[in-house]
Symmetry: C2
Subunit: 157 residues, 2 copies
DNA sequence: TATTGTTATACTCTATAACTATA
DNA sequence: TATAGTTATAGAGTATAACAATA
């Protein structure tokens, strides 16, 4: 293991949790949309993968199946997600955003992006490009399965 | 707000929570060191700022004072942190790592870094440099007060 | 028998509100 | 009166274990 890898890992371990904590604090403060970070990420995933299963979401988000089941339950009760038994395999569940879910997600995304953009705005253009490239580099290392889910039974009610 | 800022913000919002979730899962799986991500970050902060107060830690980590009080309580009970009343201002509390705390932190850091390095190792050298530079760019935007705490009453028992 | 998901239970994390002690 | 911290209480998030339904 070379030195640059270690240095890079150490920087990631120090900085990324601070960024996420800042996002969490901000999302909690903005009472407009009552979403936790995992709920937000789950809505995003379902939006990108209409008709996905519970397991798909759990694997992508990094939660156990029971935890995701509970999380989804909350989103269903809040009217943001539609959960239906799959017609092809009655063991499976089919997840879609409701109209409300899509708009709540869009609203939360907009608000969080606006705040995050404010934080980044003072940076020189070159720095923003560097950050963007870094994220693109890291994406495949940490986001598995981004587009592997078959799009079936999408209703997007 | 220009487009590159928005794009950059969107990428950060998508990728960093996934990285942190992966770190969380990994830290939980490695039962060697029973530390949550906030506990780990708090130990790191106290290690870098011996003799810091509860408020210092709370502000840096991004928790409320009661939440940090509870978190510290857990670390004290686990024998990782020494909490003493300040001699200069008896309202304040002075935090230091115990010997156990320092070694538990070092061990957790080592284990997590080893895993994280494995994830990064396949990347080309140039990409690692880009990621490292991105983290250095983001550090001052999201890590307040990194070195502002006066180092007093450090015992490091 | 294997797979998908849910329920039961418990523990951690975190917040707000109310309080104590010190300045 | 203001500040530093704790305690009380409650709610959300997550895990493991046990279960039910379907393939």
């Amino acid at each position: 293991m070379d030195a640059s890898t270690q240095t890079c890992a150490r920087a990631l371990l120090e900085i990324t949790p601070a960024i996420v904590q800042a996002i969490r604090v901000r999302m909690r403060a903005a009472r407009l949309h009552e979403l936790s970070v995992p709920q937000f990420r789950t809505l995003a995933f379902i939006g990108r993968h209409p008709g996905c299963s519970l397991s798909d979401a759990a694997e992508f988000i990094g939660l156990t199946l029971p935890s995701m089941s509970v999380l989804i339950n909350g989103l269903v009760e809040a009217g943001l997600v539609l959960r239906q038994t799959s017609l092809l395999d009655r063991r499976r569940v089919t997840l879609n955003l409701t109209g409300t879910g899509a708009s709540v997600y869009a609203h939360a995304l907009e608000g969080t992006l606006a705040w995050l953009s404010q934080q980044l705005e003072p940076l020189p253009e070159a720095d923003k490009q560097t950050v963007l490239r870094a994220m693109e580099i890291l994406r495949p290392q940490f986001l598995t399965n981004t587009d592997a889910t078959p799009i079936v039974e999408a209703t997007h009610a």
